[in-house]
Assembly symmetry: C2
Homo-oligomer: 345 residues x 2
DNA sequence: CTGAAAGCGCTAACAT
DNA sequence: ATGTTAGCGCTTTCAG
């Protein structure tokens, strides 16, 4: 029952040819190396018959390529990341690559451990949603000539390929939409972290606050939130102490979730009177009551662009390619939660 | 800039010892092999200083172990699967394993391709949520002595470790809960597929229908649904033609999502009058209006149990371990959508 | 056109 | 207590 794995050597022996010949044929170099049609066919037939599969590990060790990419996200169970992951998976498979997902919990230590881990496994490239303090680690990857593309956020001082959205603009559009629908004092709920995506969103909010002359009301939750419980408590306090705010932009779908829970449980009437916008969509936001207006990131486009950049790096590692910062446009999916009060049923 | 990777040989040369010694020390066999304290220390220090990391690929090739597990799901972007994935990830990392996730789309061809693919990479074990027709492939893995544990569904004729829930019982509890809350004619929406989990859920429904003497109304959507659009159309038709049903059990969270969309868009009043239960929770179900009663699978427990079984297989591959079918209990998370009509506001 | 052989980096049986 | 060496399975150079 315990079948020994068949190796290229077994095949060679069985067919009375050398391993070289088999290897050439298997790698489609039969023509190039001018192996006779007859031998080629014999090998191919036999290989098919015994259903031989080369040991990819050995292949990788020899060639230095693993055909594996790593996609490192904050939390693979978050809708935004898992959707992206799914798209990457498909794109990569089409090109003969597999994708390893891992969650860094937006934690530097974990991020670095993970990067080292996979680096030792000679993965061919990284797509990383970086935590705040791993700039140097990323840099060291670049120095080792390992393809890396950052997603969602980047580091100001690092010359590196990046794909994300125009956060400031997205935020501005969202807030402007609230203003257009007669909300007078939009507030902003985010995380207190120095990452480009969050800073952009905050800046967009402040810009409109200043343009439209309303007082900015910001709630920045701690970066290292201990629990959902704590998050809800903070949000509840915020709502308690700021009865006058009439609308909110949540800077991530995770916060939106917490916020909606608090509203539903403690301020049910507000749930129907507040203007609510969330960054990042979720399939269920459209079936909430009210359904939630969302700033949607163009996931397909982001994934495609990222892959494009990554494969450029993989193909011609040495070329001093210009680094590209892609800031894609978002879409505002307008739903019930931002209807002006007069329009509501 | 282009640093050559440091190998164990370089270290040996630099330190004037043999590679064996280095290897032993690195693998914590210094004591066992009675390497002198001094040499051990020298090696460890140097290794730390140059930040040497062994090439795992070579290590795997040599040892036949890769410290990689594969978790194959239907769709990594589905809440149920991505939550499970996240838990597996953590459990595995604690044991020094990494987890590769992949989505098979519940498609046999894709499943088989993926299994072959990873098998060539000598992964150490598989956790598989199998599509309907890959019984033989699974069997062949077992014959190659590769650890496999099935999750969520199994094959009647296959002796294999499996972790899941008691679907029939879960379904019965759900329907009984509807009956207890004065719903007279619960209906059942599922997928038309011969997989154990779905069959169990259906059977549970039918049991209560027969016990409680109501007419079973089942909608089984085609296995190979072309699009969400098509799914919504079928659901809409079902609601149109069965105005008399007063409650629904959706057999997967995906169907619930479609169903809620249809209800919200076409039968808004029903959304508030129907009794609704969903299999599988989602963070957002608790903030829908009405919030949705859910049959929750014990994700943590499932993941732990699965890992336990998998590691048993990994440890003592040869022992003719008895196969274990774990059917865990679910929890009914009661929310607004199943309040009896008299209790609703 | 095909084969012999080196070597990717590591482990471990065998020598010393 | 430490070193020598034979592979793991594959690719590829160099020699016929």
């Amino acid at each position: 029952m315990k079948k020994k794995r068949i190796s290229i050597k077994d095949i060679a022996k069985h067919l009375n040819v050398s391993v070289t010949t088999v290897s050439f044929v298997l790698n489609g170099k039969a023509k190039e190396k001018r192996i006779s049609e007859e031998v080629t066919k014999r090998i191919l037939d036999y290989v098919k018959k015994i259903n031989y599969k080369p040991n990819q590990l050995a292949q990788s060790l020899r060639t230095g390529e693993s055909k594996i990419l790593v996609f490192m996200v904050e939390d693979i169970s978050n809708y935004f990341f898992s959707k992206l992951a799914r798209i990457f998976e498909d794109l990569a498979y089409d090109k003969g690559y597999k994708v390893l997902f891992c969650s860094n919990e937006n934690d530097d230590k974990k991020s670095i451990e993970l990067i080292d881990l996979f680096n030792e496994r000679q993965v061919d490239g990284f797509i990383i949603i970086p935590s705040a303090g791993i700039e140097n680690k990323i840099k060291s990857l670049q120095e080792q000539n390992i393809p890396v593309v950052l997603l969602d956020r980047y580091f100001e001082d690092l010359e590196i390929d990046y794909v994300g959205i125009d956060n400031q603009k997205a935020s501005e559009q969202g807030i402007q939409h609230l203003i257009d629908n007669k909300f007078k004092s939009p507030s902003f709920v985010s995380i207190d972290v120095q990452q480009t995506q969050m800073l952009g969103r905050l800046e967009g909010y402040r810009n409109i606050a200043s343009n439209e002359n309303f007082e900015a009301k910001e709630l920045l939750l701690p970066y290292d939130l201990k629990s959902n419980e704590q998050g809800r408590a903070i949000l509840k306090e915020f709502f308690d102490q700021n009865q006058d705010i009439d609308s909110i932009l949540f800077a991530t779908n995770y916060l939106t979730q917490l916020g909606l829970e608090v509203l539903k449980n403690h301020f049910p009437e507000k749930l129907h009177n507040l203007g609510i916008i969330t960054f990042d969509d979720n399939a269920l936001f459209s079936i909430c009551t009210p359904s939630i207006t969302a700033i949607c990131q163009p996931l397909d486009q982001m994934a495609e662009k990222t892959m494009e950049l990554l494969f450029e790096l993989i193909k011609n590692k040495k070329s001093t390619s210009k680094y590209s910062h892609q800031k894609l446009d978002t879409t505002l999916e307008i739903r019930e939660s931002t209807l002006s009060l007069s329009e509501r049923s």
